[in-house]
Structures are given as structure tokens and as C-alpha cells.
Symmetry: C2
Subunit: 354 residues, 2 copies
DNA sequence: CTGTTAGCGCATTCAG
DNA sequence: CTGAATGCGCTAACAG
């Protein structure tokens, strides 16, 4: 029923070994022979048996891309870019084609580990882990151990948009400079004259959340503000990276301190919710309250008013991660590359009212 | 170096077959034996060899989910829902765990076929194809043939958000009623009193584009409008499903016919661009021009003004598709289930100026 | 309920 | 440059 490599060999009047060789293209084969084999492949409509091939070769052509939330364009853009960088390697024919697949962890550490195990089970050629990490020590330990095991088995491991990890399991790390970006964003607000700035942070325990918040506080401290210490000023609220969380948190912040003249959100999605809350309170953006986000997702330029934010080169980072995973790019010295965010000023921020 | 099933068997003092049985859980094994095996698995930190298992069983635990654009929440939401419906089947342990992966075709028919081949090569357990289809006959034929081959090999095929296909390869299809939704949306506009309605359509040759547009024309025709025939009225423009395309097309439509009082966009993303163009022309929404979208993506409620649109139950559809792919839901009679869209009226549409 | 026996389809040695 | 032989690690009958 199902045609095998042996069938192709028979039709092309060569040995199975030869067919294998032309299919994998990593061994000299006479041009005429190759022709004949390829023709037989087409005529028989033969498709290589991946599992058999992976078993014999002890490695598969699967590449896994882990994301925290597939419905979030932040991850979608990176994953799409990585996937195309990985998939576009083939010559059109199904030759050295890798199967780049994205796995959605939903931000759950257990699912992250589960997916990694599943990928390990498949003997994946590479794994790209995107997005911020949970800071829980137990999970970090488990994750480190799992990645080490993957690396041992020959799987390349690339981190994208995530801080470096201990151990030498990781092939390359592309880290976003969230702290620097957060600092520059708040410096911008301070330069405009804002002094009471609310901060809608992401979920606690996440590196992205902490780094951006620290950047914010760095700027505040450098300006001689931020007295009272972290969290105690009542100007910070935590919540998930969702529009709804941004809305709720901003409502609360506004209620707590009506003198707020600016709100910085953990990312653009959260900023959208913040905008809704500000507007609902009868305040205008940016005349009464400035609002800023982070990431510069595609919709941010269309927000009304257009969102001031920190642009992260998500597409470029994804492409680079994909290449690193393929082994076509060489890892940066030290294995870690830090990617800066670019302050992008638009209409949602302006000087506070006099 | 790498621990195999035989190692586990030796440590647990049972035969390899028994180990296989407790791991797959689809065969009676004495509780005490199972205990012993599981302990050995943990102690040895054993991970099943997927390829070997797939080779022997002639089927893998891979499930592919194809999407047109992974950076688009429309697909992200469906894919995420399907993936969780598929992944949440396990008991926590890595038992009958399926590996649900999403593949980004970028809307390219070649990549769609390539991914399907790759999935076929992996002997995927199931494939979920989401989103509208290209109407090119050659591609439809190729796709039909490929799906038939997958089905022959035992792969379950589910279509989600895509019209039914010829042949009996498809296990189940969940089709969105794009035509009905499009009709209701335009009926809403007509009821408000609009008569000159621009339509920013998606790319030609796509089922989603055509169905929504036909719905629009159905409504127009029922109201005795639409004279001059399709495309000839100068009120329709085509473009990709992007914000930029919506912006460009709307600018052109507005230039072509300044008497327009409403613009219907192919989807919410396009509607966002349309809003920008309307606003840039110095017109107010909805006082001067009403704007409507389709899909009801999360950001649509946050648009200013909030977008009138047709709500599609993307999450629910994704979950159902996932279950169908797993074989835990039974296919609808006839194999086809049509999912209706719900007209969702918000602030972006209002009666035209007198 | 458990052990034994055969392959699954392919990539590699190793010869020629 | 090509063919023959071996085994990758596991599941699936088949017996017990």
C-alpha cells in the first residue's frame, strides 16, 4: 500500500542505499543515476518515512519553537520569522527540509517542560525558546536540566527574547534590553515634565516584567524620584499581559492617585487597556494623561492616539534565532547577544498640563 | 549514553514489551508491575524514542495545525485553542501526549503543500487546516490529492474556518458562514440608512474574501441596490488582509467617491487601516463615515470608536477542531458543520448625515 | 497478565 | 561511484 524506499530502488534499478544517498544529497552520486532515481520518486509519488529515517540517523528534521502565547502578535511575529528562516532553506524540493513547528505553552511552566520533553522524544534538531522566563528557582532548575539533556542529545538550543541561562546547554541567546528600553521610555516622560507616573507591570516573577520595571525605576531614581522604595509608592500594579489587565490596573491606579499625569504599561496590549480606562475616567490622552507601551506591535501605530512605545525588532530577532537554530549563523562571542529597543515617540505622550 | 526501553526493562526486571505497555497505557498491566516500571523510568530519566515508536507503530503522536499567518490573532486564537484541546488530553505524565504543532504557511499555496508533505513524512496522527482557501483550481486539485494521501495513510484531516472540499479525505470541516455574516453586516448598514457603501475586500481568489463579498452584495441586491454589477460600481477594492491595505484601499475609495457614507472592511485588521484613512481625510467616524470590520478580534473593542463587526467564535471553533482531530468528538452528520457569525454593533457605525 | 519473536523503513558501515 | 549487510529502538502479534 505505502511505497517505500525499496520500491523506488527497484523501479530505478539501483540499490536502496543509492536512493537514500540521492535523497539526502550528502554523498556523491552519478548525475545519470540521480536522474533516474528522482524520476522514480516522482512516478511513485514517494514520500520519505520520517520516523524511520530519524531512527536510523538518530536525529530528525523537526525544529521546535516555544512561545508563551500564540494569539499574541509579539510571539506570532517572532515565531513566523523564525519559521520562515528555517523553512526557506530548502531548494524547493523536499530535500533537507526542516519542519519548523511552533508550540504554545500558554505561559505555563509545566507545559513548557512537557513540550520540551515531547521535542526531546522526537529527537528534534533544534529548539527555540522565545519570550520572558519565569523566575521561580525550581522551574529554572528543571528547565536548565531539560535543556542540558536536549543539548546532550544533539539538539541545538536557542533562546530568543529571553535572558541568558546558566550552564552551557544553550547554543545562543538573543536577549532584549528590556531594562534599557524601560529606562529610556520613562526618561522620555520625565523630560516632558511628568513627575507622577503610574506603572502597569506584567505578571510578577517574569524576567520581562522585572527588567522593564527596573528600567523604569532606574530612570526615576536618576531623576531623584522613586522615594519610598519599590511597590510602596502605590504607583505600580501587576497583572497579566492582557488588555483587560491593563484596563483594570489603570482604573485602580487612577483611583488611588488622581494626580497621575502619565501611565506606562508593560507592553502595547496592556497599554490599550490603559487607554480605555483613562478615557473612561473622562480624561483625554495625552492632554490629561500620557500613555506609553512597549514592543511596538503593528496595531500600536493605529491606536488613537498613536502609541508612544519602545520598538523591538521582533522580526529580525526571529530570523536570527531561526538561522542560529539551523546552524547557518554563527553564535555571537560569549553566546549572548543583546538586542536594544528603540524609543518610538508618537502622539500618546505629551507634556503634562501646567 | 542514551538510555533505551531495554535498559528500563532490565532495571524493572520485566520484558521490553511490558515497559512499552505501561508507557502506552493501552493494555492491561498489573499495578505492582506498572509501579516498578514507572520507578525505573524515573530513576533512569528515560524518554521514549519517538521516531522508533512511530516507525514500529506506523503512526506518530504529531498533530499539525496549518495557519495562513501566525502573526494574525485570527489564526493565533484558533491555533491556540486547538493546541490546548489536543495537548490537554494527557494526565500530566507524558503518556498518550500528542505533540500539537502549528505551521505557518504565510498564505503561500506551495508552503501549504510543503508542510503537508512534511507532516505526511512524519506520519502525523492528524492535520488541522485553518483559514480560507485559495480558489485556484490547480492548487485545489493538488491539495485534494495531498489530503487524500494523508487520509490514506491514516492521518485524520480536519478543516477549520474553511469551506468543504471535494472527496472523502476530510474527516470533518468547520465552515464559517462568511456569506451570511457579510450579508447581516451590510443589512445593518442599510437599515441605518446608508446607500453608498464602500467595500474593502481581501485578496481575490480566496474563499473568505469571496464569501464575505457575496454576502455584502446579497444584501445590496435585496435592497434593490448594487446595480451595474460586481466590481463595476467602483465601490470595491481588493488587497491583502493587512492594516496597510485597508488604509490604501480606503484612501482610494474615498477619492473615487466622496459621497461614501460607510466603509465595510474584509476583516478587523483591514478596518483599522480604513479608520486611519477616513480620519486622515478629515472625516469623523461614525458621524461622517461609518466603518465596520469582521471577526471581532480582541483589539476591535478597543478601537476608537469601538468597531462594529461580525463576531466569529474562533476559540470555540479551534477547540472543536482540536477535539475532532483527536477523535474525541464525533464529526457532524455529513461531515460539515457551519458556524454562524454574530453581528456585533458598536460605536463605529451610525446613521449617515442627513 | 507477561515474555518471545519479528520486523517497521531507512542510514550506514564495509566491500567492491 | 555503487551494492550488500547490519542495526537504530520500539510495537505488535503470538504464545504462555
Amino acid at each position: 500500500m505505502t511505497v517505500t524506499l525499496a520500491d523506488v530502488a527497484a523501479r530505478a534499478r539501483v540499490s536502496p542505499a543509492t536512493v537514500s544517498r540521492v535523497l539526502n544529497g550528502n554523498y556523491p552520486v552519478a548525475a545519470s543515476t540521480r536522474e533516474r532515481v528522482l524520476r522514480a520518486v516522482d512516478e511513485l509519488d514517494y514520500v520519505l518515512n520520517g520516523p524511520a529515517s530519524a531512527l536510523a540517523a538518530a536525529t530528525s528534521d523537526l525544529v521546535g519553537i516555544l512561545v508563551n502565547d500564540i494569539a499574541d502578535p509579539f510571539f506570532g511575529i517572532m515565531a513566523g520569522a523564525a519559521q520562515s528562516a528555517i523553512g526557506d532553506t530548502g531548494t524547493g524540493r523536499a530535500g533537507g527540509e526542516k519542519l519548523a513547528v511552533v508550540c504554545n505553552t500558554g505561559g505555563s511552566p509545566e507545559r513548557e517542560l512537557t513540550y520540551l520533553t515531547l521535542l526531546q522524544r522526537q529527537r528534534a534538531a533544534a529548539v527555540v525558546v522565545t519570550g520572558g522566563a519565569l523566575e521561580d528557582p525550581a522551574h529554572i532548575a528543571a528547565l536548565t536540566a531539560k535543556l542540558a539533556k536536549l543539548a546532550d542529545a544533539g539538539t541545538r538550543v536557542v533562546l530568543c527574547g529571553r535572558p541568558p541561562m546558566p550552564g552551557d546547554a544553550v547554543t545562543a541567546t538573543l536577549a532584549f534590553d528590556n531594562r534599557g528600553g524601560g529606562r529610556r521610555l520613562t526618561e522620555h516622560l520625565l523630560a516632558l515634565g511628568h513627575r507622577r507616573i503610574g506603572y502597569v507591570a506584567g505578571p510578577a516573577e517574569r524576567t520581562t516584567t522585572r527588567d522593564r520595571l527596573e528600567g523604569h525605576r532606574d530612570a526615576l531614581a536618576a531623576a531623584g524620584l522613586g522615594g519610598g522604595g519599590p511597590e510602596q509608592d502605590g504607583l505600580t500594579a501587576h497583572g497579566p499581559y492582557t488588555r483587560a489587565a491593563g484596563y483594570e490596573a489603570t482604573r485602580e491606579l487612577l483611583a488611588r492617585d488622581p494626580s497621575l499625569t502619565a501611565v506606562v504599561a508593560a507592553n502595547d496590549t496592556v497599554a490599550l487597556g490603559a487607554c480605555a480606562a483613562v478615557r473612561e475616567a473622562g480624561l483625554r490622552i495625552p492632554q490629561d494623561v500620557s500613555v506609553a507601551g512597549f514592543d511596538d506591535l503593528p496595531f500600536s501605530v493605529d491606536a488613537v492616539p498613536a502609541l508612544t512605545t519602545v520598538r523591538l525588532p521582533l522580526h529580525e530577532a526571529g530570523v536570527r534565532a531561526g538561522r542560529l537554530a539551523m546552524g547557518t549563523d554563527t553564535p555571537p562571542p560569549g553566546g549572548v547577544e543583546t538586542i536594544a529597543g528603540e524609543l518610538t515617540v508618537r502622539a500618546s505622550t505629551a507634556p503634562p498640563r501646567a
